[in-house]
């Protein structure tokens, strides 16, 4: 029981990181980024590349993945979104547009990397900490064994992923509530036309949010090989649906609700897996539908339902 609860919280924090980028993009632009899972997959491949080429701690892939995808996101925004916003039904068409994008990403990755499953040895993650510990405090390299929490052992990558997620969510909070661009972002989220009318450069704010959303997704992707065991180019689609479940659980359009949604999802997931394992696959979908019907605005949301 304790094990399931703690593991649920650890996974939940990670799931929040997975979902938060999607939510930022939807909240600001009303765009459904169906390619979200594929960005995650690409983040995982960056981690694989860093380990494969330089053979260093995959944690170094995080800043790289983030920078690459913030830039990619801003570029992609200018190519795709203004044209899309001009069409008759941007929300619906965005689903199809980004489905096309996800197909392109998946196909290109398959062409270059093949369809085989890739994984990284989990002891590579966090070696930078043990090295620092050994350098500064002496002692000997023990390798990243399980970490003890409440008398139970958990794989170190889970704990590292959860801590990174906490830091990332904290940074998103700081960005949204304590920077000028973040305040503008929240203004665009609540009323796009009024924000435009008050002279906010909506496109610039949206491009920044889109870039950050993709960047965070890529960071979450760096941990994907450890949290899910392995990744393939086709991993993106499942990740997208899971992210949606988390985001809707928290509340669509409220990035901080995602943190709550992720933890609730992680706890449910672990508890169902412990006690009713054959039904665990059903959980995210049923949870998603029930939440949409009972509280379409999510656990922490405003009303959004129309007619």
């Amino acid at each position: 029981m304790t094990y399931a609860l703690v593991a649920g919280v650890l996974f939940g924090l990670y799931f929040s990181l997975v979902g938060i980028g999607l939510n930022l993009v939807f909240g600001v632009m009303r765009i459904v980024n169906l390619a979200h899972g594929d960005i995650l997959m690409l983040g995982a491949f960056i981690a694989l590349g860093v380990v494969g080429i330089a053979n260093i701690d995959p944690l170094f892939a995080i800043p790289l993945a983030f920078m690459v995808f913030v830039l990619a996101g801003v570029l992609l925004y200018w190519v795709l979104v203004p044209r899309l916003q001009g069409s008759a039904n941007p929300e619906m068409l965005s689903i199809i547009l980004f489905f096309g994008l996800s197909q392109v990403i998946e196909a290109v990755t398959t062409i270059f990397a093949g369809t085989s499953e890739r994984s990284i040895q989990s002891r590579l993650l966090g070696t930078v900490f043990t090295t620092i510990k050994v350098k500064w405090f002496g002692g000997k390299t023990s390798g990243a064994g399980p970490i003890q929490i409440f008398g139970q052992g958990f794989p170190a990558p889970w704990v590292i992923a959860a801590i990174t997620s906490l830091i990332a969510i904290g940074l998103v909070y700081l960005y949204l509530y304590h920077t000028r661009l973040g305040t503008l972002t929240r203004a665009v989220m609540s009323r796009r036309d009024e924000a435009l009318a008050t002279g906010i450069d909506v496109d610039r704010v949206s491009a920044a949010a889109f870039g950050i959303g993709l960047g965070i997704a890529a960071v979450a992707g760096v941990f994907a090989p450890f949290m899910f065991g392995s990744v393939t180019p086709a991993f993106g689609a499942d990740a997208t649906v899971t992210s949606f479940a988390i985001v809707v659980l928290g509340s669509l359009g409220n990035p901080l609700g995602t943190a709550l949604g992720g933890v609730v999802y992680g706890l449910c997931y672990m508890l169902v897996q412990t006690y009713l394992s054959s039904w665990a696959d059903l959980l995210p979908y049923v949870l998603l539908i029930v939440i949409l019907l009972l509280r379409p605005s999510g656990l922490l949301g405003r009303r959004v339902r129309v007619a």
């Binding site: 069409s87 199809i96 949606f244 809707v248 696959d281």
Partner: protein, 306 residues
């Protein structure tokens, strides 16, 4: 001549004639069958998305439900295949009724919830705990009813009915009312349109045709796994075909299926990833440059497209 009879005569009749006669001259019957199935599904998407604006991202849920309705009737009750196909349609309608609350959601919420619903049905059917009923993830084998020729003609009949339904929607006050609801639900209800009834009827009609198609598909292939009949590709293909041609028209989805599925069969089998790349680029180009589909090339010039 009346518009509806013109459409029936010049669109539906040639289409049915071509697909009824082609098996005699063209050997790849599986390919023809798939064309017919996708024509049904694309028109089914047209009924719900084109005329009401709800994007059924989990449309395959009905298709799979129909296939499993068929399989369960044949496995456990030894029903004859045509009857089991009807049961498949009924199962899809039952699932549609179960999911009517989703129609309260709007826009992207509906699409996501529908996707989740189809995946929930998939995992329900594929659950090893239900092996006694659905055979779980191990798949079903229905060799007793295997008869591709009959299944093919049944598919052509269902296609004719589906296209007929779209012709009706295009030419009736009912279809007009649906489109009014799509454009502006509040104004439509002020004008005396019963919004809920309209939406539910369109929803169940599109569920029915997908269920029938699923039942016939099960009849035709006779051996399948949950992942085959609940494959997201069915929803995606049907939606993209319908959009590519142009929704809320009779000819749009037909043109979309013939062109895109044709391309798919030319290059898709040998190098799936290159096809996926071209396909993805095509979809993106479509949304960015032709959001109203191929038929908008004609309508922009002021030509009327049925």
């Amino acid at each position: 001549m009346h518009n509806a009879s013109k459409h029936l005569l010049f669109i539906l009749a040639p289409l049915v004639a071509v697909f009824a006669l082609l098996p005699g001259v063209y050997q790849n019957h599986l390919l023809l069958f798939n064309f017919v199935i996708f024509l049904i599904l694309a028109q089914g998407v047209n009924i719900i998305y084109g005329f009401t604006g709800y994007l059924p991202f989990g449309y395959v849920g009905f298709f799979g439900a129909g296939a499993y309705g068929f399989a369960i009737m044949v496995m456990h009750l030894q029903t004859p295949a045509p009857l089991a196909v009807l049961v498949g349609g009924a199962v899809a309608i039952a699932l549609g009724l179960l999911l009517t609350p989703l129609l309260r959601l709007s826009g992207a919420y509906f699409a996501i919830a529908n996707l989740a619903a189809s995946l929930a049905v998939l995992h329900f059917v594929a659950n090893p705990a239900l092996e006694g009923i659905t055979k779980g993830p191990y798949g079903v084998s229905l060799t007793g009813t295997f008869n591709p020729t009959h299944a093919y003609y049944a598919a052509v009949v269902v296609m004719a009915l589906t296209v007929g339904a779209v012709v009706y929607l295009k030419n009736s006050s009912f279809g007009l009312a649906l489109q009014a609801v799509r454009e502006d639900a509040v104004s439509a209800s002020m004008a005396g349109v019963n919004i809920i009834k309209m939406r539910v009827i369109a929803w169940l009609a599109s569920a029915l045709v997908a269920g029938l198609a699923g039942g016939i598909y099960a009849w035709y292939v006779s051996v399948f796994y949950p992942d085959n009949v609940f494959s997201g590709e069915f929803s995606i293909f049907a939606i993209v075909f319908a959009l590519f041609g142009g929704v809320a028209t009779i000819t749009g989805p037909i043109v979309g299926v013939l062109i895109l599925y044709g391309i798919y069969n030319l290059i898709g089998f040998t190098t799936p990833q290159y096809f996926q790349l071209i396909y993805g680029l095509l979809i993106m180009g479509l949304v960015l440059f032709l959001p109203a589909g191929l038929v908008s090339l004609a309508t922009r010039r002021g030509w009327h497209v049925p």
